[in-house]
Amino acid sequence: MIEIATSSTTTTLVIAGDLDLAERDQFPEIAARVVGLRRQLLVIDMCRVTFMDSTGAAFLISLADSGKRRGGATVLRGADERDLFVLEVCGALDLFRIDRDHRCESAAPPTGTTSSPLPQRPV
């Protein structure tokens, strides 16, 4: 489920559940609404995302990319290590400002997994 909240400067997207191909049908409409709001800052709250694969990442990237082209910024908060890994493989980490200090309010549901280490970006 994806909710959109907005203030005068910021659009906040709160995403819950799985972000994969099964959710793809709603992506274009949400992207259109976010773009239509024309806020300088887009905050994507991933605290309650249970899973994201490359299809989900592509959606976030399209949001960040269209924001960037209008001179805006996109903040990613509550993304777990695996989500960041997926974005990194997609070569898109630099499109986002990663909020590493954010602490999710409710106990964030585990991403279904124990946090086993994923391969790191080759140096």
Binding site: L21, A22, F51, D53, S54, G91, G112, S115, P119
Partner: protein, 731 residues
């Protein structure tokens, strides 16, 4: 002069003079270059060959010989040699007395004198006309041969490209090949109006339909500068009357066979085929070659029943952007015969290939749509571990009469159906589809299994479904304490479900009745209980039926096998059953395993069941999540640590299967002892595609993620392919 003894007298100066005079070779003596090379003497043969007397040559002023020479490819180096006093030879062309053109090989050598100063040159000419003609003919025939070979080669390459229309630039590459013959060539397809085509969308190839051609074409501002055709022509209702003939539309309609010559400086209605094509062509050719075309040759790309598009070639007639004529301008652009043949062959082959792709895509869409309509429903049931399996008999393609459904009827209530329609053909599959819908509708409406099947009986009798069928229908209702589920079931001529509890196997043989649509007694409903750790097994006779044993013996074998099952997850139970009973099934197999997890006992004993699992998933997006849950459960059951990576890899592979694969998707997991091995199989034989990541082209990163986490590969399997990935153990 010294006397030389011998039979032959020595050669005298007089004899040398006579020899030159009477030689059968034209010989002549001239002065030096600086004197203008006056001709001082010629022999008789020279006069005979050229038809010119020496006095006449003397009268022609300086360099009189030049007046005899036509083509002279080596004039510059030859004259330099003459100036510098070096001997020289060259081939020249000249007129014979009869007016015919001949070729001579001419040598000029200085005549040395005692004081070392050159005052005279001796020239000799040999008639080599016949040799030159033969050589030219040889070259020409070699050229023809080379061209034919090149044309054949081009056609062969074209055929190869047409073999893979899934490649998105197949048509562009073919047009590029043709551009070795003509300055510009390109394909247009008619799909609700003409459109320029780099490739064919094999999922929905062009229809060949469309008579209004209105796709947007940007204007070409350069045209005004070179006096090209006007950028916008008036519409049909405009001032200038348009020509009544639309050659290109006639070609598309199959009225003419073509090819047609389209004049690009004519006036055509804006949305006519000729008008649109003229506009688009002029823009493209100007952009790509920098010249403004005057006319093009248009071939039809014809399918079996209608013309699907056009192959347009420009032969170079037109203007450069600076206004100078491009090659061939002025003359009517004619297509040389061999170019015409090649373009015609390419157009014809492209038409057939596109048509085949279209027909195949249509069949495939139809089959997929029907298959999707027949997909089983498998609800994820909270509190239960459900695993399903369906394998149509391989000999009978992808259709069969067996089916299952797992329906979430309400919170805490699940409906379970397993059934079997007699036969393996399309009619059986169609009957199955009807029955399944009927059962589904009543299952949601009525609670008691006996009542549901009663109603199914009534409806089926009225619908005249042509095949008899057996089935079991059961409902599971969660007990109030959540510690057990109440099973209620009824059987219509179907084998009894099995209940497995602590090594004991119970056949749920109550509430038996006749096949669907038969019998007059009301259906009964029997009850049982599913407790923690229990397994409920629904199956069709394909699991146990063998030609070499009776059904009774088969059922005993199933009961015996079930008693030995140690797996603690539904997929493991299914795996043990399949590996022992159904590795060579003779019939369709449908299997539903329902297990109520036992959080306390499940963790205590490490089961001895095989460390492999399989799932058959319908090709739909929700299958991706289902596959992830399956891999998570399996990693837990096997105590594997890399579940985060496994979940990601499975998600990407199954998503690819759903997006690009055909038919059902088979997912298999193996514990290799050295990392989890994941296999995903579908019926599309085309290999998986890795695209290099490009920030502006989203998607296509899936296989890169897989690559970072696992070793992977693929191989053909059955009629499709199998993609495997072996997770690298985390350090």
């Amino acid at each position: 002069m010294t006397e030389i003894p011998g039979p032959v007298p020595p050669v005298s100066d007089h004899m040398l003079g006579a020899a030159l005079s009477d030689a059968i070779l034209p010989v002549f003596v001239t002065g030096t270059w600086d004197e203008g090379m006056p001709v001082l003497w010629v022999n008789a043969e020279f006069t005979r060959t050229t038809g010119i007397h020496v006095d006449e040559l003397k009268a022609r002023g300086t360099h009189p010989l030049l007046s005899l020479v036509g083509a002279d490819p080596d004039r510059e180096p030859g004259q330099t040699a003459l100036r510098e006093g070096r001997p020289t030879e060259r081939m020249i062309q000249g007129l014979r007395p009869d007016g015919a053109i001949g070729w001579w090989h001419v040598t000029m050598s200085p005549i040395p004198e005692d004081d070392g100063v050159v005052r005279h040159w001796l020239g000799a000419a040999t008639d080599v006309s016949s040799y030159v003609e033969r050589h030219a003919a040889q070259l020409a025939s070699l050229e023809v041969e080379r061209r034919e070979r090149a044309d054949l080669d081009l056609v062969a390459q074209t055929t190869e490209l047409l073999g893979d229309l899934e490649y998105p630039y197949a048509l562009r590459d073919i047009a590029d090949l043709l551009r070795a013959l003509v300055p510009w060539a390109g394909f247009y397809l008619n799909d609700d109006g003409l459109v320029f085509a780099d490739g064919v969308d094999v999922a929905s190839p062009p229809s060949g339909r469309g008579r209004r051609h209105a796709r947007y074409v940007p204007e070409t501002p350069v045209l005004a500068r070179v006096g090209g055709p006007p950028p916008v022509e008036p519409d049909v209702h405009g001032q200038n009357p348009a020509p009544s003939v639309d050659q290109v539309q006639d070609l598309l309609d199959g009225v003419t066979d073509g090819p047609v010559l389209l004049e690009l400086d004519g006036h055509y209605p804006a949305h006519s085929a000729s008008g649109w094509l003229r506009r688009d062509l002029v823009r493209r050719v100007v952009e790509e070659t920098g010249a403004v075309p005057r006319s093009v040759v248009v071939h039809a790309v014809a399918g079996r029943r209608r013309v699907l598009g056009l192959l347009v070639s420009w032969h170079g007639a037109g203007l450069h952007l600076d206004g100078t004529p491009a090659s061939g301008a002025g003359a009517t652009p004619s297509e040389p015969q061999h170019v015409f043949t090649v373009v015609e062959v390419v157009a014809r082959r492209a038409g057939t290939a596109i048509d085949n792709a279209r027909l195949y895509a249509r069949e495939h869409r139809l089959a997929e749509a029907l298959q999707r309509a027949m997909l089983p429903e498998q609800a994820e049931v909270p509190g239960l571990d459900v695993w399903t399996y369906y394998a149509p008999n391989a000999e009978h393609a992808q259709v069969g009469g067996d089916w299952y459904d797992v329906l979430q009827i309400s919170d805490g209530t699940v409906g379970l159906v397993v059934g079997d329609v007699v036969g393996h053909d399309v009619e059986a599959a169609a009957a199955m589809g009807q029955l399944r819908s009927v059962v589904r509708s009543y299952a949601f409406e009525l609670a008691t299994p006996g009542v549901v099947v009663d109603r199914v009986d009534q409806l089926v009798t009225g619908m005249r479904i042509p095949r008899s069928a057996s089935m079991v229908y059961a409902t599971l209702q969660q007990g109030p304490d959540g510690e057990s589920w109440d099973i209620r079931y009824t059987r219509a001529g179907h084998l009894p479900p099995l209940l497995l509890r602590g090594g004991q196997v119970t056949q749920l043989a109550g509430a038996g009745g006749s096949l669907i649509g038969f019998g007059s007694r009301p259906r009964e409903t029997a009850r049982a209980e599913l407790r923690r750790g229990d397994v409920l097994l629904f199956y069709t006779d394909g699991l146990i039926e063998r030609r070499d044993r009776s059904l009774k013996v088969g059922l005993d074998a199933l009961v015996e096998t079930s008693g030995r099952i140690t797996a603690r997850d539904a997929a493991g139970v299914g795996e043990e059953l399949l590996s022992r009973l159904a590795d060579a099934p003779e019939d369709d197999v449908a299997l539903v395993v329902v297990r109520m997890p036992d959080p306390v006992a499940d963790g205590e004993v490490q089961p001895l069941s095989p460390r492999s699992r399989r799932w058959l998933l319908p090709s739909e997006p929700p299958s991706i999540g289902r596959a992830r849950h399956a891999v998570l459960r399996t990693c837990q059951a096997w105590g594997l640590p890399e579940s985060a990576a496994a979940e990601l890899v499975v998600s990407e592979l199954v998503a690819n299967g759903v997006l690009h694969g055909w038919g059902n998707i088979a997912l298999r997991l193996f514990d290799t002892g050295d990392g989890l091995r994941i296999e995903v199989e579908d019926s599309n034989p085309a290999p998986p595609v890795t695209t290099d990541g490009h920030p502006n082209r989203l998607g296509g990163f899936g296989m890169q993620i897989v690559e970072r986490l696992a070793d992977w590969g693929w191989r053909p399997a059955g009629s499709g392919k199998l993609v495997w990935a072996k997770l690298r153990p985390t350090d």
